[in-house]
Structures are given as C-alpha cells and as structure tokens.
Subunit: 347 residues, 2 copies
C-alpha cells in the first residue's frame, strides 16, 4: 500500500462550532434507557430510577498528556475511562458522559475526529451514552473535561468511608505498570530527540505501554463482586498511586492499615522494567499512578469468596487508627506510608 | 484606611491539589435535599425524584474572558450563571454544579480564592450545591469547566422543539446590553494601553457593564411562568444572540418565525451606547450574545396571561417553515435572518 503523504487537514473554522459538533457526534448512538434526551438541547434529560452518581476530571495538554507520544484516539479513550473508573469505584453502573474540549486552531478537523473516535470506542466498550458537552477554541493547548454519570441503589453504593478494623485490603489486577509505561515513553522521546532516525525499542514493553496509553476501568470487578456476593466496606480507584489512595480510605474511614510488600501484585514486566531503570518496584507500586485498578476493603468473612480469584489480591488489612498506615517489608520491617502521589502543581 | 500595597501571594504548590481543594471548598454548604454526598468521594451521590437535567460549558482565558478587565470573582459568578441559564431554559430547577479549573502557577492561592468566592456567591444566590470538580495545573491560561444539574417533572420540561405555527415568540428582560458592555470594556482597555494614567470613563454604562460582567440567569422567569400557568411550547436561553437562538428553535421545531424590529426590548443605555459606537441597535440585539435572557414560544391563548408583565415582551410569532425566519423592520420591510452568533474558532 502506498502511504498517503499528505493527509487531509481541514481547518476547524471551516466547520464552525455547530458544524464541528454535528461532525464529531454523528456516529454516537443512545444505548441507555435512562437517556431521554442527549445532545442537541440546552440540557440533556435523564431518567434515573436509582441514586445518580456524578464525577468529573480535567485533562490538560503538557500536564496530563504529551501529544508527542500519546495518539489522540488513545487520549480520547483514556479521558472517558478515567472518569468511568470513579463511577465504578462507588460500585455503581456508569450510564452517561459529557465531554468538553478546548482545542487550538492548529488541530485540523481530522485530529478532532481522531480524538472522538477514541471517545466513541470507550463509550461503546463501556455502554455509556455521550449526552452533551462543549467545543471551544483554545489559545494554546488541548484541554478535555469529562463528567461521568452513573446510577446505583442507594444501599449498594460503596464509599471511601466504611472500612472497619479487621477488614481485608484488596486490590484488583496488578499495579505500577502504567507508571513504568510512562517511563518507557519518556525515554523513547528523549532518544528520538537526540537521534530522529532511531527506531523505538518498545516491543518488550507492550503491556506497560497499553496500561499507560489505553487503560481500562474495572467495570468487570463490580460485576464480579456482585456475583460473588461480596459487598466492599469501602472502595476507591487507583489514580494517584497506592499510598495516596490508602491514605484516602484511612482518612475517610478513620482507621489505619497494614500493607504487606510481598503481597503487592506486580506484573513480571514491571519488575524487569524497574530493574532496567534502577527503580524499586515497591516504590513504583506505592507512588506510580494511573493504574485505575480498584482498591477496596472487605469483611474477613468474605475472604473465602474471593481467595481463589486471580483478578483479586489481598494485600493487607485494616487496623485501629492509632497504629497508622504502614508497610511491612519482605524483611519484616514496618515503615510508615506517606502520600507520594502526583501533584500537578509541582514542576 | 491605608491600602495594602503588598497583598498576600501564596503559591499554589505550597498547598498542593488536595490542600487547595480543602481551602476553596471550606465555605460551601449543602442546601439541596437531593444532594446525598457532595465533594470528597470518587463521585457525588444525588437522589433526584424527577428527571435529571445535565448541561456543561467551558470558559477559556483569551477566548471567553480577558483577565485584564474581568475580576476573578465576577468570572466565577458568571461561570456558574451561564450554566444554570441552560437548566432554566429547559424550565427546570437547578440543583447542583461541578466546577473544574485548570490554572497556571502564576495565580496565587488568593486569586483562586477570589474565583471561588464568586462561585460561592452564585451557588448561594441560586440555591445550588457545589458537589464536585477537579483542580489542576495549566501550562498557560485559566480554563473553567462547569456542569450544571437540575430536576423537573418529565411533563414540565420545555425543549427547543415544540413551537407550532401561530405561537407567539416571547423574550424576557432586554437584550444587547451584555454585548455593548463588552465594547465599553474593550474600548477602556485600548485607552488604558495608550495612556496608563487615564481614568476609566464608565459610570454612565454601569448597567451595560453589569450585564457583561455579572449576568443573572432567569430563574425568576421559570417561577413567574409557573405562577401565570403558562407552559412554553419551546424555549432556549440567549447566549449566542437572538438570531442564532431563533434559528435553533426553528430548526428543532421545524417552523419559521417572524420577528418585529419595533418590538425588540432594548434598554435606553443600549441605544445611547450604540449611537456612540456608531452601531445599529437591531444588529446588536440580533447578533450580540451573553444576555442570558429566555426566548420562548407560547400558545396564542396564553397571551392575556403575560401581556401586562413588564419582564416579558412579545417580539414575533411562529409561521410555517416555508416562510423562513424573517425580521420585519420599522419601515415594514421583510429581511431574512441569518445566524450571526459568535464562533470561538474564528479569529
């Protein structure tokens, strides 16, 4: 196949705001019964029969993503997923999203379309409806603001508070991979800058890159817990790193926690990459963010229901607040855990 | 009183994201019964017994506002109001908002606080709860993304579609003032640039400036219509200018409209300012945006209920789509109305 060396670049101003909205939303379909009116009026109309969940996140170019190595389609996908993750972290069903973007004129319509293809793919994968948003010019970088909406019976919603002494601390999947994926991408960017002829050396790291560029939200874990008849006592999603999220659960539940280093689930490629980068894998698991796994506490009596499940790892337990939040190392040493999560305001 | 010549400037990174959120949200109280959980968990929890309305808008520095003449407190107030206006335009009650901001390190904590004082004031004035948001760094300008949520009985919601031939076209308040306020501000900015010692000459224009800097959403009109037992057949709010909004109503309702130039409600200061700037006041009313008045259609039989009301003006009527959308001038001439609303993507 002959590659098209001059891809189409239609200036956004050719379409105008309304034309652009029509263009990017033409493929979106309404799937949820609770969506009465979607895009196209002053406000969307929803008919939720249960409690409504609302969460919102903003992604800023140069702060949350670097377009030199993040494809726009992946970015659109991820922008939706990180918000749905917050709905699942309440043990709720995600149903709708709104997406607002501020985008500079340097992006052609085709680039905006790429972004919305990713948004569309995420909406289809998770079965949520795009019901509104805003599309505006930006004087500099790209900004994406997503609001996710969900629903759940009031009694089934799981909050950050609710963990009790003796509860088990459980995490889904494995952690640290998204952070190591970012390290790989940053390294390849530096290599490329030094020598633009170089070919990226990333095949061995495909799992890490996928976790960074196209993360998934754990809708399946909420379903699994329901099937197992396990109702978490508290829950949060891992966006800022394990240590930071443990501290949130402890603060809201007014408890302490003990985490066992040897129980932290790490993918073998995370361990390999950590060795290569001369990083401590436990530190990465504690401080690296963007895993979007679910971290939750369950009653001890529920242990037998989850223990055989490969998607779930018991990594610690809940203690009285006076014990604080500690890591028990492989050597049996006890070390206080401090928040080392990401702060966008620090350079 | 001796003026403080060195106001406090606390860098945002001193507080970090969570500290900043705690700081700016400490004065916000929950007022709505439907707000079960507000800020502080992965998602807010709402208990709406009626249909839920959702709308969102993004305001970008350098595109939607110019901080050289827009005080941050006013900006915060306006960011909320423009979103609530969309909820009222559905004839619904606004109940909650989320606010996300991307802000550069050049702003001190005190500036963020100013912005949130305006947000707080708007939430109090309109009785809505701040239930969530995101606070992140920005590499350049300030971006504010607001999502407003409301509720209403399904049968009482008013959409853009629904206008029928013979219906009357009604607008609340007066129009064009916000646009002329912007002209005054732009002129004073230019004067100040040329001569920084000059004192702004704005006293005569206080109404115009207030309409631009601190607009109000017409919650009162929804209440008034309910009291008068008038149910609009279609409705929209005036954010992009009368012509553009009339076209939206016509497109959704599949009708045409006739607008009478001599019926357009203009404040005397708008007429004076238009003369001074050598602008045609009808053009300003048609194309100037940001009035946040409500534009709606009612059945002819409801005319007697609204005719004596000083807040409402009948400005035209609905005709068959084949007649198109026209302005009847003071001279009796009929001129087709084209959208001349604002497009942020055009320089």
């Amino acid at each position: 196949m002959i590659e098209d060396k001059s891809p189409q670049r239609t200036p956004i101003e050719n379409l105008g705001e309304f034309g652009l909205i029509d263009f990017i939303t033409k493929n979106f379909e309404i799937k949820q019964d609770s969506t009465i009116t979607g895009i196209g009026d002053d406000a969307a109309v929803l008919n939720h029969t249960k409690s409504t969940l609302v969460t919102t996140d903003m992604l800023v170019e140069g702060v949350h993503f670097d377009l030199s190595y993040v494809p726009l389609k992946h970015l659109g996908y991820k922008a939706i997923v990180v918000n749905l993750s917050d709905v699942y972290a309440m043990n709720a069903r995600a149903t709708q999203v709104t997406v607002s973007i501020a985008i500079s004129n340097r992006f052609p319509v085709e680039a905006v379309n790429e972004l919305y293809e990713g948004i569309h793919m995420a909406c289809n994968t998770y079965g949520v409806d795009l019901i509104g948003g805003d599309t505006t010019a930006s004087r500099s970088g790209l900004v994406i603001s997503v609001t996710a909406i969900g629903e759940q019976d009031a009694g089934k919603i799981v909050r950050r508070k609710g963990a009790r002494e003796g509860d088990l601390l459980v995490v889904s999947g494995d952690i640290g991979a998204a952070y190591m994926g970012l390290q790989i991408l940053e390294r390849e960017k530096a290599v490329f800058k030094a020598n633009p002829q170089s070919q990226p050396d990333i095949e061995a790291y495909s799992y890490l890159l996928e976790r960074q560029l196209k993360p998934e939200a754990r809708k399946d874990i909420c379903k699994l817990l329901e099937e197992l008849e396990v109702h978490p006592t508290s829950m949060i999603d891992l966006s800022d790193g394990l240590s930071s999220e443990m501290i949130h659960l402890c603060k809201h539940s007014e408890v302490g926690m003990t985490l066992y280093e040897d129980k932290i689930p790490l993918d073998p490629t995370v361990i390999t990459a950590c060795e290569e980068f001369n990083l401590d894998s436990t530190t990465i698991a504690l401080s690296g963010g963007e895993d979007y796994e679910l971290l939750f506490t369950i009653k001890q009596e529920d242990f037998s229901k989850i223990k055989a499940n490969p998607s779930l790892s018991v990594i610690g337990h809940v203690v009285d607040a006076s014990y604080g939040i500690n890591l028990v190392t492989r050597g049996g040493e006890q070390i206080p855990i401090k928040a080392m999560g990401w702060n966008s305001f620090q350079e």
